[in-house]
């Protein structure tokens, strides 16, 4: 082989080597574009909401009732109160039921039995059911039908509770599973009963994980519109719900009502209400992060 042959082979090799490099560069560009698009969309989403919504954000906005005629004096008090009460109601339903189910599946259930496997598969499937279908369940089972509560606050809380129950069960199970078996063995060896072991060792150990997951699930419930629309939450009521059996609305419903208004000033109000909703979600996420960092057990 002569020297020029070698050189030719080397350049050919380099040229062959160039193609993946060019492809690689294009691919890198595509990747940056993809990530950039996602980030820019998020920025645009928040930006649009803040730009359109912030001019009418004020204390009066939080403390006045929605008006159908005058956008200036319209506010979200009834929706804000409704959303806060729904959080409490949903939590009151979902905490005992969700944690108890998770405890049953993790600490008691015998996996070889078909009914326990059925419960697990069922929970996985329930988590994938679209939220409108929970609305239908709420409408036909809670608002009308067997429970016949009417479109009231309690019905809203129960519907959202059923909606987030599978998620709460799944996150609670993970938190309970994270408590090492040696803790249980230690308690049992000291003569504790099964329930003493669970209530004094397992639950305190899993508490931070459960609370974090719970708050995140509740923040999902807070943003839900479809099920509340279907069960018939009131649109723009000029009163707060005075009890469990009172008509109610929530922030997403109020936002929806305003987006449907032909008057653009009301559509801007939807953005202002969205800021309030985002603020509530930010607080809830903050609580979740705080609990996780402050109370998480390291084993």
């Amino acid at each position: 082989m002569t020297g020029s042959d070698l050189a030719a082979a080397a350049t050919a090799g380099m040229r062959r080597g160039e193609r993946p490099r060019l492809g690689g560069r294009l691919f890198s560009l595509a990747m940056y574009f993809a990530v950039g698009l996602a980030l820019i969309s998020l920025a645009a989403l928040i930006g649009q909401t803040v730009v359109k919504g912030s001019p009418s954000l004020s204390i009066e906005f939080l403390t006045s009732y929605p008006s159908r005629i005058n956008p200036e004096s319209s506010g979200v008090q009834s929706a804000l109160v409704g959303t806060l009460l729904l959080i409490v109601l949903t939590a009151a339903f979902v905490v005992p039921v969700g944690v108890a189910t998770a405890l049953y599946l993790e600490e008691y259930a015998d996996r070889t039995k078909w009914w326990n496997r059925m419960i697990e598969v069922n929970i996985q499937n329930l988590a994938a059911v679209p939220s409108v279908v929970y609305g239908i369940l709420g409408l036909a089972f809670i608002v009308r039908g067997p429970l016949s509560l009417g479109p009231v606050l309690l019905a809203g809380g129960l519907t959202l509770g059923l909606l987030v129950l599978p998620v709460v069960i799944i996150v609670s199970r993970e938190a309970i599973r994270a408590v090492p078996p040696s803790i249980r063995d230690g308690a049992l060896a000291l003569g504790a009963t099964k329930w003493q072991t669970i209530s004094k060792q397992v639950l305190p150990g899993a508490r931070a994980g459960i609370v974090t997951g719970l708050v995140l699930s509740l923040s999902r419930a807070v943003g839900e519109t479809a099920p509340l629309l279907v069960i018939g939450a009131a649109s723009s009521p000029r009163f707060d719900p005075s009890g469990l059996n009172d008509a109610f609305t929530a922030l997403p419903i109020q936002i929806f009502t305003w987006t449907q208004d032909p008057n653009p000033a009301f559509v801007d109000k939807a953005a202002t209400a969205s800021i309030v909703l985002l603020a509530i979600l930010a607080v809830m996420n903050g609580i979740a992060i705080f609990v996780r960092n402050r109370y998480e057990q390291r084993w």
């Binding site: 993809a34 189910t101 499937n125 239908i136 969205s274």
Partner: protein, 323 residues
Amino acid sequence: MVAFDQVNVVDESEGERVRADLVRARSARSIAEGSIRVLLMAAAAISIATTTAIVVILVRESLSFFSQVPLAQYLFGTKWTPLLAGDQQSFGVLPLLWGTFYLTGIGLLLAIPCGLLSAIYLAEFARPKVRNTVKPILELLAGMPTIIFGYFALTFITPKILRGLFGVEVLQYNGLAAGLTLGLLVIPTIASVAEDAMRSVPHSLREGAFGLGASRLQVALRVVFPAALSGVVAALILGASRAVGETVIILIAGGQQPSLSLDPRISFQSMASFIAATARGDIPQGTLKYETIFVVGFTLFIVTLLLNAVSSRLVRRYRQVYE
């Protein structure tokens, strides 16, 4: 209250009494322990009862619907006008099914490339610092209430992006904006789940490929991506199923007019958005209109259940097991 701390004195000289004591000791506590077990089991039964209630309600009202409308008209009819009267009334679900899948398809056209490229970038190329910043931000996008996406589609995507930036002549309520926004909604879902799948591919595979002289890109595309394929497919189906069940984005931005058309510039209605649009009015119980909510709900329920089943099947079938 049953005493938990009951002390049992065991007389060692008499085997029979020992056994009797042990039996009694167990029974004293087992009432409390057993009732706790029953309580927890009852809580677990609530989730079974929920599923049962959903199925019973959907099936019962659907049966009552099909006693008045032939199944063939529902499944193959091309006009969905249940709220009109007389001759104008028609119960063909195809426009709603089409609306659901067409808008989901538009969304996935955007979300699949973006989601997967983001996932590959985050899993294989991004420095840890970048990944730990970008991933939580993407998850923030996933946690946004969909009502805000709907508002965004109506007030930004349609007027500013579609009409302004691209000059597309769309109606105020159009399928294109709704579909693209559905895509934005599911990008983080796809990216996050696919990234988890790729990161769970063991390092030895990457090191082996690098050792054979593969470039970073080759490792990502020819080693890691195929090895994570089951998780990637699960991510895509999860995204699709989220888009199929999404309601408010389509309700707000897509319009409330069912169409069986390929033109994305006009209004569309999906199964979910029909349900939310119709159930809002106080439709009297027992009427055919009331029952349409349940038939369509049942159809949607079956579609998402099928998507879920396919996804978990694929995951199980193609899962590569590494030690």
